[in-house]
Symmetry: C2
Subunit: 355 residues, 2 copies
């Protein structure tokens, strides 16, 4: 099959750019959207060529299956710009492959990899001025696929839309994150869709997260739905725990998203001489480690949140504080990964992709 | 709070009815849609008055949360018309209440009950000619709510749309149903959203159901995700098993939808002198009962599928056939419930609501 390159992609430019109305010094996360988007339709049994078009409304029949059956998947990536104006992505092929893993599990036809990658490149050429350069800001990239096909029958749609939209964004969390370890509600089932970035995984977390927020926590740490004895991950982050000088994180499974930040952190930590262990972590172990002082750090890791230090956790009505560390793994690793992402350091891993 | 009545609802009629193009003698399920729909918007912190409008396209921003986070819920109901042209609903308030149960779990603002019920009545006045009268046909009613609010942040939307659309429909299944008992994939987690009619619950079933179809089964019977030892329910039906002369069905839980057909069947069976037991049913018990001849019947029960006899089940590569019964509970109970729904019999339970 002939591969598509970004120059094959039809581009329709907006007549009125919104860029001058955006305050790039005060960016929230994912609230303002760049001028263009990539769109690509699946119908008649195949994906049709992607196009760059002005960011604008989508019109659907009321019986479109996206409204009824949650048949949707997404990805989250970022584009960075350095002081020379060069533009970079971080491990983008991992997002392409994960989107197709999610697609398969949700019975969505897999997307040709070049439609995604070359489409993204074309979009980021057109909207290159939308990539922020301020420290801590970046262009958040949202690739997503949803069912457009019609009908009130709980079965896969016969038509889909793939879109990439982008949003210049600041930090996901403001400040440290206080988490609640959840024992009643669950994020995902054994044999379910937890490992996929399926839309429905997120909506299911909103209510329990709201309850946690009402109690003063910003995030829920999910535990396994069978015993609730093991920590799994957070809403949009994998979780790391430092006990003495070892960095622990749960193995991924069909319940846990295989985060690109998570696996990068594991490799970076090794390279920095930090001992890592990938193994199940019991809630009781956390509690004990907190009590005897060996719990030094906890942090979340994800594209949106980068590395977000966790200041404490609540469990069964008790609150466990995690004291600040002078030599924090979280800051050390965050500095490393951000330096690689933004072209401020060598990239021995070959993760950075120059546009 | 003043209650809304159907006469308060603004009605905008279509200029061109599609009804003459519909072949009411050859209706599929949920494929053609009536002329009008009810719409109702949540914004600025409240639900605004519903209106009846022509059935037609919905326009949304690409960042609408429905596309990203699966924040959607729905219901399934039917309207029936008898030989006098009188129109009926079946236990509609149970759907209203279940929609709000689902809403709560999905962090969607609950809908005023009268907006739903009076809105539905207004819609069914306008589209009364769309209710089929042929045996086995009815007007399938699809109330649903989805997140319209914008933003690439995994948190509840600030705007929603409630719609009721309807589709004159024939049978959901054609013929008997052969099922596969699933041990690898799961439908829902303990503490998850399985008890809610959340969009994401359905998309997650498509791929495993496709695999089952490829093996010659029409439906999957889900088992609990922890042990896979107990049968739970099917894609859009609760499941009943007849062992000797006792009718068994699983208790509902936070993993299983509390079906209105299921609970009606339990009451009808009691009234018909059929012994019922609500208890967990082991897969191994089914296999053994099939082998020793005590497994007399299995059937699915749901609004769309009414009562659908199951002709056999596959489990670990073996197929277990369920022989036809002369005195089948499935047909006895189906006849009873359909007679009540369609005003062909007394309704001692007060389930039928005349429009
Ligand atoms: C549920 C969940 N876990 C973990 C992550 C982190 O994954 P990644 O590092 O690939 O962004 C995300 C965000 O993408 C997520 O949604
Ligand atoms: C998962 C699931 N189980 C069971 C049912 C049956 O419920 P009811 O009888 O209320 O239609 C449905 C259909 O609504 C369903 O979607």
């Amino acid at each position: 099959m002939a591969t598509l390159t970004k120059n094959d992609i039809k581009i329709t430019r907006t007549e009125t750019s919104k860029i001058s109305s955006i305050d790039f010094n005060n960016l929230a996360f994912g609230q303002v959207f760049s001028d263009h988007m990539l769109t690509c339709d699946y119908k008649d049994g195949k994906w049709h060529k992607p196009e760059v078009v002005p960011y604008g409304p989508i019109t659907l029949d009321p019986s479109s299956k996206i409204f009824h059956y949650g048949q949707s998947i997404f990805e989250g990536m970022k584009a960075y710009k350095d002081n020379n104006g060069d533009r970079f992505l971080f491990r983008p092929m991992d997002n392409v492959k994960r989107l197709n893993l999610s697609a398969k599990r949700l019975a969505i036809p897999e997307l040709p990899e070049d439609y995604f990658m070359e489409g993204l490149k074309a979009l980021l050429d057109v909207d290159q001025d939308w990539i922020p350069t301020n420290e801590g800001s970046s262009l958040y990239i949202r690739p997503y696929v949803f069912a457009t096909g019609n009908g009130f029958h709980a079965s896969p749609a016969d038509a889909y839309k793939f879109i990439i939209a982008t949003a210049p964004s600041g930090a996901y969390f403001s400040g440290k994150v206080n988490v609640l370890i959840e024992e009643q509600y669950s994020r995902s089932a054994n044999g379910g869709v937890g490992f996929a970035k399926a839309g429905g995984n997120y909506a299911g977390q909103f209510y329990p997260t709201q309850l946690a927020k009402d109690k003063g926590y910003q995030q829920v740490i999910w535990t396994d739905d069978t015993t609730h004895e093991y920590i799994e991950e957070a809403g949009a982050m994998n979780v790391f725990v430092r006990i003495n000088d070892t960095l622990l994180t749960s193995p991924v499974s069909d319940r846990i998203l295989d985060g690109i930040t998570r696996k990068s952190i594991l490799q970076l930590a090794e390279a920095e001489g930090i001992k890592t262990e990938v193994r199940k972590v019991k809630v009781s172990e956390l509690v004990e480690a907190s009590k005897n002082g060996s719990l030094k750090e906890m942090f979340g890791a994800g594209t949106a949140a980068v590395i977000s230090p966790i200041s404490g956790f609540g469990f069964r009505g008790d609150d466990f504080e995690i004291p600040e560390q002078d030599q924090s793994f979280a800051s050390q690793l965050k500095n490393r990964i951000v330096a690689i992402q933004t072209n401020k350091a060598e990239d021995p891993f070959g993760w950075r992709v120059k546009l």
